[in-house]
Subunit: 142 residues, 2 copies
Amino acid sequence: MRGEGRLKFIGVVEESGDVSELDIFPEYCEGLYRLEDFSHIMVFYWLHLRDNQAHRSMVRVVPRRHHGAPEVGVFASRSPSRPNPIGFSVVELLKIESCKLLVKGLDAEDASPIIDIKPYIPRADSVPEARAPKWTLSGPPT
Amino acid sequence: MRGEGRLKFIGVVEESGDVSELDIFPEYCEGLYRLEDFSHIMVFYWLHLRDNQAHRSMVRVVPRRHHGAPEVGVFASRSPSRPNPIGFSVVELLKIESCKLLVKGLDAEDASPIIDIKPYIPRADSVPEARAPKWTLSGPPT
């Protein structure tokens, strides 16, 4: 049951920073209809700078942005070096203007391809009491 | 800046239900090291039954498991029919036994390939006050 999946890029991170601009390609733009009913969205993007054999072979990492983090398995980390370089962020949706989204809190590099957007549904996605180790509390959120 | 990304499957949903069993392939098993420090994880899987041209061409959908939902853009829905058939669930991690994970709350079909696992970090991923439209409150969480 080994196999592969093929992703089509649906847009691109045009400018990233505290506020980031996401450009959705015209053929997917209609997929944004009524997205403004949500205050937060989940952005799935492609960590294109890590899409190579070396970075995709990592199985253990030291989360270096988190002071005091031990070595952990790659799936116990949010490291961008991982078998499938999928980036994931929960962000605040500030504005939709035609095929452009302005969001707050995206930690992506400029020019990262976007692979999916899903609405954030607190009932399914919010677990405030989830337990996580102490090292996750220092440094940036992910 | 059109393009494609290539995903390698890292495991498979062996049995799904209220409690689901995930099998991680041996070559990725070490990536689970210290994952048990987290009570919840995010499972990214491949919606293999929707991986075809018809389902991947959807741009508008009616979320049919949610009574009263209007037609919305596919990115404003959690529909499994979408340009990139990426499934996403926040689940409770019950047990890790060698390369097998037992989790609670995964809404995946049996035999769905797994493409990534990330730890759930409440500081980054939990937004209890996020606004979502009323139709998201009826039916299953997603």
